[in-house]
Symmetry: C2
Subunit: 193 residues, 2 copies
Amino acid sequence: MSNTEDPPPKEDVESPATENPTPVETGTGFGGASITRRWRREDLLKRGSLALRGLALLFSLLAFIIMASNKHGDWKNFDKYEEYRYLLAIAILSTLYSGAQVLRQVHELSTGKQLLEKRTSAMVDFFGDQFVAYLLVSSASSAVPLTNRMREGTDNIFTDSSAAAISMGFFAFISLALSALISGYKLSTQSYI
Amino acid sequence: MSNTEDPPPKEDVESPATENPTPVETGTGFGGASITRRWRREDLLKRGSLALRGLALLFSLLAFIIMASNKHGDWKNFDKYEEYRYLLAIAILSTLYSGAQVLRQVHELSTGKQLLEKRTSAMVDFFGDQFVAYLLVSSASSAVPLTNRMREGTDNIFTDSSAAAISMGFFAFISLALSALISGYKLSTQSYI
């Protein structure tokens, strides 16, 4: 009957968010165009935050690997210095955190199902990103002066690897800090009184 | 008979919403109680963020004063060490930032006028708090290992003052990080599509 003709127009929009239109907006009196715009922006934000978390995962994994393999005997072992041990610990933590977030986001994008309730996940994102970003900037900052001082005396593979790991830590921090801003923005687009 | 005993239980309910039913809310489905609750919460948040910024101002001013007066001749001058100079610079910046924010908020609370548009000020708060918090945690973290190493050898007024300034820096960081969370929450309670 006429019921069979209804689906096609809906499919033409091709916005992935139309698959689960949140029932909250229907009564608020905003036009369809603004809602589509909002969905497109949310989709962009979702992909942006996934990309940033992916970068954070890559950089913290690199920091972890470079620092963990930074053992060249004698005084050139990373585990002789508390700053480097701190950096390694935080790199591991950040790898686990951003890995888990990337897995969750990829799972949500591919299946369309939310693992956590939407508001809970926005909160977790916002707090988690900020917290891990603080830890990353703290560990990278604490390792900089030691490396600077070593490099004044001598420049070898140990100091170079340390500098590389620190840089990766900073890059991971920048990715997560930007991701925290996006999470804050996402939190702000949810309407609840 | 038994009819005269019925009315009293109805009056005992004393629901406050029946006294002034505002005609505005009848269409939207929210009760007057929830709006009052929201106003009260916003007021609480405003005071909380003012208090946190006041604490940040106090702590960063203390960090600034303690570090700037930390000159005891010979190697015991703070300006011989880049970590301490960094901490001092960030303490000054954080003092200026939180001082300006406190002045603005006090002005807004006392006059009731907004210096900036509400959305702009929420954005400035959110980005500014986070940025200064990152700087504070970075500078305090970078100064910790140097102080630790000095205190292994000797414990004197110079290392003690440095440790005190670093602690003040961390306290200022915690205040601003909490304030950033409140700013994020404030941003989230504004509804715009």
